[in-house]
Point group: D5
Chain length 149, copies 10
Amino acid sequence: MPTREEVTNKIQDEKRSRGLSWNKIAEGIGPGSPILYTAALLGQMTLTKSEAENAAKLLGLSEAEAAILTESPNRGSLTTLPPTDPLIYRFYELMQTYGTTWKALIEEEFGDGIMSAIDFEMQIEREPNVKGDRVKIGMSGKFLPYKRY
Amino acid sequence: MPTREEVTNKIQDEKRSRGLSWNKIAEGIGPGSPILYTAALLGQMTLTKSEAENAAKLLGLSEAEAAILTESPNRGSLTTLPPTDPLIYRFYELMQTYGTTWKALIEEEFGDGIMSAIDFEMQIEREPNVKGDRVKIGMSGKFLPYKRY
Amino acid sequence: MPTREEVTNKIQDEKRSRGLSWNKIAEGIGPGSPILYTAALLGQMTLTKSEAENAAKLLGLSEAEAAILTESPNRGSLTTLPPTDPLIYRFYELMQTYGTTWKALIEEEFGDGIMSAIDFEMQIEREPNVKGDRVKIGMSGKFLPYKRY
Amino acid sequence: MPTREEVTNKIQDEKRSRGLSWNKIAEGIGPGSPILYTAALLGQMTLTKSEAENAAKLLGLSEAEAAILTESPNRGSLTTLPPTDPLIYRFYELMQTYGTTWKALIEEEFGDGIMSAIDFEMQIEREPNVKGDRVKIGMSGKFLPYKRY
Amino acid sequence: MPTREEVTNKIQDEKRSRGLSWNKIAEGIGPGSPILYTAALLGQMTLTKSEAENAAKLLGLSEAEAAILTESPNRGSLTTLPPTDPLIYRFYELMQTYGTTWKALIEEEFGDGIMSAIDFEMQIEREPNVKGDRVKIGMSGKFLPYKRY
Amino acid sequence: MPTREEVTNKIQDEKRSRGLSWNKIAEGIGPGSPILYTAALLGQMTLTKSEAENAAKLLGLSEAEAAILTESPNRGSLTTLPPTDPLIYRFYELMQTYGTTWKALIEEEFGDGIMSAIDFEMQIEREPNVKGDRVKIGMSGKFLPYKRY
Amino acid sequence: MPTREEVTNKIQDEKRSRGLSWNKIAEGIGPGSPILYTAALLGQMTLTKSEAENAAKLLGLSEAEAAILTESPNRGSLTTLPPTDPLIYRFYELMQTYGTTWKALIEEEFGDGIMSAIDFEMQIEREPNVKGDRVKIGMSGKFLPYKRY
Amino acid sequence: MPTREEVTNKIQDEKRSRGLSWNKIAEGIGPGSPILYTAALLGQMTLTKSEAENAAKLLGLSEAEAAILTESPNRGSLTTLPPTDPLIYRFYELMQTYGTTWKALIEEEFGDGIMSAIDFEMQIEREPNVKGDRVKIGMSGKFLPYKRY
Amino acid sequence: MPTREEVTNKIQDEKRSRGLSWNKIAEGIGPGSPILYTAALLGQMTLTKSEAENAAKLLGLSEAEAAILTESPNRGSLTTLPPTDPLIYRFYELMQTYGTTWKALIEEEFGDGIMSAIDFEMQIEREPNVKGDRVKIGMSGKFLPYKRY
Amino acid sequence: MPTREEVTNKIQDEKRSRGLSWNKIAEGIGPGSPILYTAALLGQMTLTKSEAENAAKLLGLSEAEAAILTESPNRGSLTTLPPTDPLIYRFYELMQTYGTTWKALIEEEFGDGIMSAIDFEMQIEREPNVKGDRVKIGMSGKFLPYKRY
């Protein structure tokens, strides 16, 4: 029985040898977000049963491997913290620079609570720019106020 | 001569005792982003000379204190990592969950490189929603390809 | 202007010199949970304006100190992790022993998601027992399913 | 001879391929708590000899594997601390927020000592709620006063 | 109002300037163990009200300072771990060398459970020896079996 | 050629499949302490050549495996610190609570120096008690004064 | 399908058994910098398709292995930090000694921003010297000013 | 008597209130490198007696403060590692990306040894560039071969 | 009452303002090793009563301060590990490079045991050399064999 | 192709099964120091080509394995820091106790700089003593003054 990590590795191998892109795979899985689907294929989110079947067809996964994609993974995609990869580190740096600002402004607008990382969605797009294209990221998380009791 | 940290503390005190909000202060500082201005007041970004003078008037800062706001700070707003405050932690959690996905999708779209955290801007807004309003965050960072040499 | 930490220390001093208990103070603050109120007085939760006024009367706090109790604190009550105090460590140990079990059983019952630590409440009671009384703790947190998008 | 970790992995595989749930397995093991049984199957608690035999029948374990389930494990189910998985992290966050409150209120009620994590039991239930069902957790641990000598 | 740490420091100062020893102080506090009393004076255990009064007389403590000695301290006497002081480090080393042996032999004799560090007492004595005197330490902790439920 | 770790694992397997106890094995090895022998079998102490031969007979070890038991191991039995296993953690907790007390009382009695963890011996016994039997531990280490030069 | 790490190991083996040097290999790969090429072969940078083909010919790599060299690696070449190897540690020491000086002088010259580690290039040369030759390192990174918004 | 850290802080205050730049100060200290002088003023290098006198005149330091600048400091300018400030972090990132490459190429050219961080010098310059000016850094350290004995 | 740390700081101040060297001070304290005396003055070793009186005369210490020099300190002179100061780091590096070699050769010569760091002495001398003088260090520690019991 | 770590392990196996000592092996390798040779065999230093051939003959190494012994290793012999093995830990403890003393005395004698750990040599000998033989260690490292520029 493969582990989730082995399924993740197999998916990356199959993607490479079949010459697929993450966006191409996502289109084949269903109408959902390519971010959600990519995260699921990288071991951080779940697919529905039919999405997993579509993924299995595209990537040549066994039934058991597809089943694992529908299970809640043990989340946490980074083995070293702070992240050593520069692309991922920049997000860590943003948190270092803006962490207290996010807290100040979200609490000013919404009161005492948090932006949910569970009832959450995001998009990534290319933003054309003459001085060099930009990565545009949109996030939306439900505000959850602290329950008073 | 005050340290940057002392200026940051004084600003938070003055804001509280004058009954100001971060957005109100930002409006008084200039036409720039309230996020950039709040981050500067919290010791993570710089103000221009005239912005600092405006901030000084609003918050009763001395000339020396205003001058410090125009200097590059020693960045890093979080004293403990992972952050212990739940609002800030959720951003850390997003990085844990989506870190490898961000890398996969940004590299697929742009090639080998990073999203700049320096040539970067962001917005935070309230997104009204009947099931509960949402925090909407927009980020835009220049894509920087690795130089080949 | 006092910091939140100074207010927390003052409250502990006043409580001691006035011979008050946490439960007694909580009764004087309002009809809410003594756990919520104690956590607020220890710098981890917020009080409403009128609750803070009640607390200020009981404990001899200034207006500024009372105001600070209504602000979102920078949460995180433990300075060393794992906690060195044995009473607090036992909760850490429970997480070590039961962490994967909690994940397995909550996901089996509810699907992929988490128990909210924000939309959350708890009680602590004495459970009489001939072999030695027991500490009885009840927790209730809203289940939050991962949003699909 | 398998290690405890290998037995834990095999149990998870067998559970999946037999389409069993943790509660279903627990029913087949004995009248004890499904939490205790799940923790034992996940390598953190022990089963009695007859419970282990029942588990072996249900899950196709060898005699040696069943025997290992009756031995005291090397406890500690989490490989990274703070936990990276959001479901488990929320318990860590509760300890961060409420740690000093628990200490204050348990000592106020019981005196100097701890809630035992050894003479301890717990339950997890679904609490129906129109705004969204809740996870209800009950814990009961013997109070142990510090011995004076 | 002094903190526990300030009381601990004052006690060490008073002890030095009055030329007292820990054993001498312990004798004046009561009939209990000098280890328990020393640990209390060093901020790790509690004294009863009358013991604290005796300590106060011997060491010139104020009423408020004596009162603090009867409160449950925030335990944890070591600021760096592993301990840098060689005398304390040797105990850490014993745990490194004998940790798994203690587990094996205590479980073999008593079953699945622990030696309590709460229902616990200890003695330290000089053991005369021609090759050089030895430190003799006796510990006794109640065995606590894991509760089955 | 097996590593010490592989020998330790094999010993634990053989012990289990032969139904032996650590005390039984120790009796067969020689007249020395079962603690010393168990520690050696768990990879933390050495056996003499004839003790190792006895161990080999009892546990079915090869000549090469027996030889390894006579070599100085790379000591350190715990992979994570603080220890995650509750039985072992309690010793860590004792060091946290009593560390400074041990230092104060040993130095008061013996002067500036340490209790040796090398010229050291220990015993573990069951102490019958009507309220529940107790684990009794005796330690004896040579006092080593700091050399003056 | 090999992992990037396996490709890196194979390259080091092939280099050794074929008696090649990094500079020799770099010459065979293309006109680019031997530093960039060596970093790519050690798993930290990318090669173009034709560079990878040249590398494959020189080092006997398979097509799949060559393809992996053109992919963005998960960067981070050091497994322990601070680095234990003395040659690499000296760079860490320079950062310890000169870190705040670099910040002071670069900001004085360029304003608030950073030297890019992405739009970056470097050279290493031997600098002959009668007292012993020197390692001469040249670095050039684009200055990136913080975007104001 | 001031500590080195207090002298460093005073220097930064005096520089700011006198409107001096690091390069201006360096010119006034002597003909040496502004990098060496800045590092000394920031607490990481030493000045000669006459350089320290010059610095004292420029910055209004006392004789005792000047004397401290001639003493070997306790080196290490960064309080948190990895560095949280983005400008300094980029050097850490270069070490992460190029560490093994530096080792490979320096050893290939020079043999087994290190580049000295003690017999070392460096320069920082602006490199004009139409696409944006660049930070140019030159380092030169004596190669030290491992002594054979 | 001063703490040991305050006495250490005062000694360093007095040494500086009186223009004394460590060796000069040591000569005035007694016939013992300047290393032992310097370590005592830096808070890591003890002086005898008469040595402390001599030190007090030379350095203008009060009686209370002198008394503290005769007490066992809480040892550990380094606040960050690995040490950030290059001179001290080199000793750490030697331990990294030679640690397993020391173990192999000392055990080969002496059997299973350790070199005592308590019954220990050392010297530091200048070793003249035409290629540059050398630091010569001699250490001598009693071999302590593991006690068999 | 074996890794350096595999060669180190093989050497330890061959040494054991051939009944060789480190000193015996060193004699067969060449006239150099047994410390340097042992360190090389344990993966921390290099051998010359002819020394490696001698080592290969004595220990039955292949040509490829001998070649690896002549390459610069990735230095760092300790996997956990602080070291858990008591023999190695004592050196760490010496650094903790004497670190600041070494810095004070070496700088007093030599000026601002370090003792090289590269241009370095050492000896280990038995020092006979009626109270118990002693381990005598001699170290000699070139003093390197900080370059002024």
